[in-house]
């Protein structure tokens, strides 16, 4: 026993020594927030940072917390930034407002800033294949026929964060040394086999800390779930003397406690079927945040245990409270519980529309022709909102640019002549690249702007149909 203890101690000592050299850090957070329609938003975020020099060759020979699998992939294939999301369900903007983290489309989305070299195309292909193997997903289907290179919609989030304004002029473009590649698979399913390798990237796996709560059976029994990894180079200080590589892993879910109990109350046990048994020892920050609603007469709630610490955050004009639980200090096993003083939950009659949202749908009928329409709503009564609309349409929908119409279909006293500030359109090439449409629109206050375009459905060879051809194709 004693020997084991000694060995354990020496292993711990070695680990600590390694960590000190490698200069890595790991933070983990869980954010919970009750939504207006009784659902519960949960957001896990794990951040690993590694001090590095982008030009260093032996970057991932020594590592402690940063997952080697990711490090080697981005180094080998020259990816400067990498963003990968796995999502099922649709974020319901009308009832849930805006998500805390960046929202993602259904299925799989992958975009990366690749270093501009001669082998950028093979590198992108190899990157999708490597990620496909790592995350058990069919990412290798992101080939040149669905890869696009949007010009306006994405900006590097790395070293030049302060310049990452999409409306910035192109001569200051920080992305001189890299190019964007974007691909999405809207029909890709997301399940335990994707979460399994994702969890294996975490230093504490699902054994300690907030990651204990990542129970696949519960996470996939939700109205919306999105799992993501974001890798990007960041600066440690303002002058950017020390660069860091940052890996952010997130799991976002929208639970529905009302479905089960007709009440909004929740606890870790009821949501995840687990409690936090111990904190993650290598995490420099390990905490649970609950964004608390305001207490009103018909919205009285209690939270157990009460938080030792709290912060304030602002929502528009209002200031609200956040309960903060530091997992290094709480009593384990830690179970958080929130209850409302209500017999059953009464759904709000009015949806809480956010100031700005969009709705995209197909028009037409039959197997020959069709159309695509997007309604973009700006409910802001006074302000003009600049937006960039990006769409990547597969080659088998042959778009007709002359049918592209942009107009304000609802709104009063609106000038229609300066709606479009800039447009980028790349026509498709059959069986080799998709159509790409990007538009920088200026939405007038309190208006609905409609973008529509017509297309022909290309006659496909029989081998180009999927095995479940009856289902059709998913488009973005």
């Amino acid at each position: 026993m004693q020997l084991t203890h000694l060995i354990t101690q020496s292993i711990v000592a070695c680990t600590v020594a390694t960590l000190a050299v490698a200069k890595e850090s790991f933070d983990e957070e869980l954010v919970l927030k009750s939504l207006a329609d009784g659902k519960l938003f949960t957001h896990f975020q794990f951040t690993t940072r590694l001090d590095y020099e982008p030009s260093g060759d032996a970057l991932f020979s020594h590592y402690g917390l940063f997952p080697k699998a990711i490090g080697q992939i981005i180094q080998r294939y020259g990816a400067r930034e990498l963003h990968l999301t796995f999502t099922q369900g649709r974020w319901n903007y009308e009832d849930w407002g805006y998500p805390i983290a960046q929202s993602a489309g259904t299925g799989v989305e992958l975009w990366a800033w690749m270093y501009r070299t001669e082998s950028i195309e093979p590198n992108w292909k190899a990157l999708t294949n490597a990620l496909s193997g790592l995350f058990c997903a069919s990412l290798n289907f992101i080939d040149e026929t669905i890869t696009s290179r949007p010009r306006m919609s994405f900006r590097p989030e790395g070293f030049y964060n302060e310049q990452a304004d999409p409306m910035h002029e192109r001569q200051d473009d920080p992305s001189d040394d890299s190019e964007l590649r974007y691909g999405s698979l809207p029909h890709e399913s997301v399940c335990t086999e994707n979460l399994t390798p994702w969890i294996k990237l975490l230093p504490c796996k699902a054994k300690a800390g907030v990651s204990t709560l990542l129970n696949a059976h519960k996470l996939y029994d939700t109205n919306f779930h999105s799992m993501a990894i974001h890798v990007r180079p960041v600066c440690k200080d303002v002058d950017c003397n020390q660069k860091q590589l940052e890996l952010v892993q997130t799991v976002t879910s929208v639970f529905d406690p009302v479905r089960v109990t007709a009440r909004r109350e929740w606890s870790f046990q009821s949501l995840f079927d687990r409690k936090i048994e111990r904190s993650c020892a290598v995490a420099s920050l390990s905490r649970v945040l609950v964004l608390l609603p305001t207490i009103t007469e018909d919205n009285a709630w209690q939270i157990f245990p009460s938080a030792d610490d709290s912060m304030m955050y602002k929502v528009g004009e209002e200031t609200r409270q956040v309960a903060v639980y530091d997992l290094a200090k709480v009593h384990v096993p830690f179970d958080l519980q929130m209850i409302w003083q209500e017999h059953i939950f009464l759904f709000p009659l009015q949806p809480s529309f956010p100031p700005f949202f969009a709705h995209r749908y197909f028009t037409g009928y039959g197997q020959e022709r069709g159309g695509l329409t997007v309604n973009i709503v700006n409910q802001n009564p006074n302000e003009t909102v600049p937006v960039i609309y990006f769409d990547s349409i597969p080659w088998y929908l042959k778009l007709y640019l002359h049918t592209l119409k942009v107009s304000v279909t609802w709104g009063q006293d609106v000038r229609q002549d300066d709606l479009i500030k800039q447009t980028y359109y790349q026509p498709a090439v059959d069986r080799s690249r998709p159509s790409v449409l990007e538009m920088w629109l200026t939405l007038p206050p309190n208006s609905v702007t409609t973008v529509s375009i017509e297309f022909d459905k290309v006659f496909l060879k029989y081998t180009e149909h999927r095995p479940d051809a009856n289902r059709g194709f998913d488009v973005g």
Partner: protein, 394 residues
């Protein structure tokens, strides 16, 4: 303390091979006769077999084929439990039933209406899924790799293994940019390790396929078929490339749900049998239905396989013969139209001695006429019965 050392992992595959060695006279495979080749061959044969691999394939798409996914995952669980790691398992699932919106129990797959064991669990790695499960990918995966030692050894032996010097040089020319990596065969150079069958010439491979099929073919996703000859050819090539030691394919051809009368299963071919220790092709009707999930959850073939396999562990001395006998007896007593014990075969055994063909009369009633409730009643009856006395038929 060599005497207390734990028994080396005796895997499912190893088990099959060992049993074949016990019960049959296993001849060694023919090798080229040049002296150099013999020396090299001797060197590589010294260690016996090196590793175990499993290729588990569900070729059926759509929710009502839930049981095929459950079959495959049952075997996945079993081979993992018996010691084959995820890195040595190629799991191909043509559809996602676990997170299918129709699944009342998200992220789970059950193989029994009692729902005691979630096959999907917390740790599953699916290597090929959805649209990736195609005949082309399957055959490329099986035959894709030229063996490492073949490529690394420079000399006449290597050239002989590959056939001609010209062929080797053309392979090296194809991938000049990666001289340090083994030459790649039929999979893309970008294919990740998890999608490659990285066997060597002393590997044992267990192949399990389930799906709908018919006489000499197995359907992939209702869109294409693999024929017995394709499969035989793939095995033949694996043998030529020495990418496996022995192959133990356990191939389950599941006939269409509503029982077309084409059943017969002449899934037999000379080339495969000449290279394999055993081959079993089985007509397997669904075993029972879970009415909460709403579909059949397992086939009888896999059900009886598991009944046996769940009771063995890595130290078991059970043999393949016991498995096939018990599997047969169980199904026979229940009058299920399962074929006779699948027949261990050796390269030199006469093909005529292997009764591989299920009788037509046994196939048609089950596949064509039995309703779901019929299966259910049968299953319940078996569960509540006093327990059959098992006798070994010889």
């Amino acid at each position: 303390m060599p005497s207390t050392r734990p028994t080396p992992p005796c895997l499912l595959l190893l088990l099959f091979v060992a049993c074949a060695l016990t019960f049959l006279c296993l001849p060694s495979f023919a090798t080229p006769s040049t002296p150099t080749a013999d020396v090299v061959d001797g060197f590589f044969s010294r260690g016996g077999h090196t590793n175990n691999w499993a290729v588990l394939v569900c070729t059926s798409r759509f929710w009502f084929n839930y049981r095929h996914i459950a079959n495959t995952l049952s075997m996945y669980r079993t081979v993992k439990r018996l010691g084959i790691p995820d890195s040595n398992i190629i799991l191909m699932l043509a559809d996602d039933v676990a997170c299918n919106p129709r699944n009342k129990f998200p992220a789970t797959v059950f193989n029994n209406a009692a729902r005691l064991l979630d096959l999907y669990g917390e740790n599953v790695e699916v290597d090929y899924r959805g649209y990736e499960v195609t005949v082309e990918n399957f055959i490329r995966m099986l035959t894709g790799e030229l063996r490492r030692w073949v490529s690394y050894l420079v000399g006449c032996v290597k050239v002989q293994r590959l056939g001609t010097p010209a062929k080797l040089s053309s392979i090296m020319k194809l991938h000049p940019q990666t001289p340090s990596q083994p030459p790649l065969g039929r999979v893309s150079p970008d294919t990740p390790r998890s999608k490659r069958l990285l066997t060597d010439d002393r590997s044992n491979i267990f192949i399990y396929m389930t799906g709908h099929g018919g006489n000499e073919f197995l359907k992939f996703q209702d869109a294409e078929e693999i024929s017995a000859y394709d499969l035989a050819d793939a095995f033949e090539q694996m043998w030529e490339k020495r990418s496996q030691h022995y192959v133990q394919p356990d191939i389950l051809a599941q006939y269409p749900f509503h029982g077309e009368q084409s059943a017969g299963g002449e899934f037999l071919f000379e080339v495969v049998l000449s290279r394999l220790l055993s081959l079993s092709i089985t007509f397997a009707p669904q075993h029972h239905t879970d009415f909460d999930i709403g579909v059949a959850v397992i086939d009888s073939y896999t059900y009886y396989n598991l009944e046996f396999l769940e009771n063995i562990d890595m130290s078991s001395n059970a043999t393949l013969k016991q498995l096939v006998c018990i599997r047969f007896m169980r199904s026979h007593e229940l009058s299920l139209p399962m074929k006779p014990p699948a027949l261990t075969n050796s390269p030199f055994r006469s093909r005529s001695l292997i009764p591989m063909t299920p009788s037509r009369s046994a196939v048609s009633p089950e596949s064509a006429t039995t309703s779901l409730s019929g299966h259910w009643i049968r299953w319940v009856g078996w569960e509540s019965g006093p327990g059959h006395k098992l006798t070994l038929r010889t």
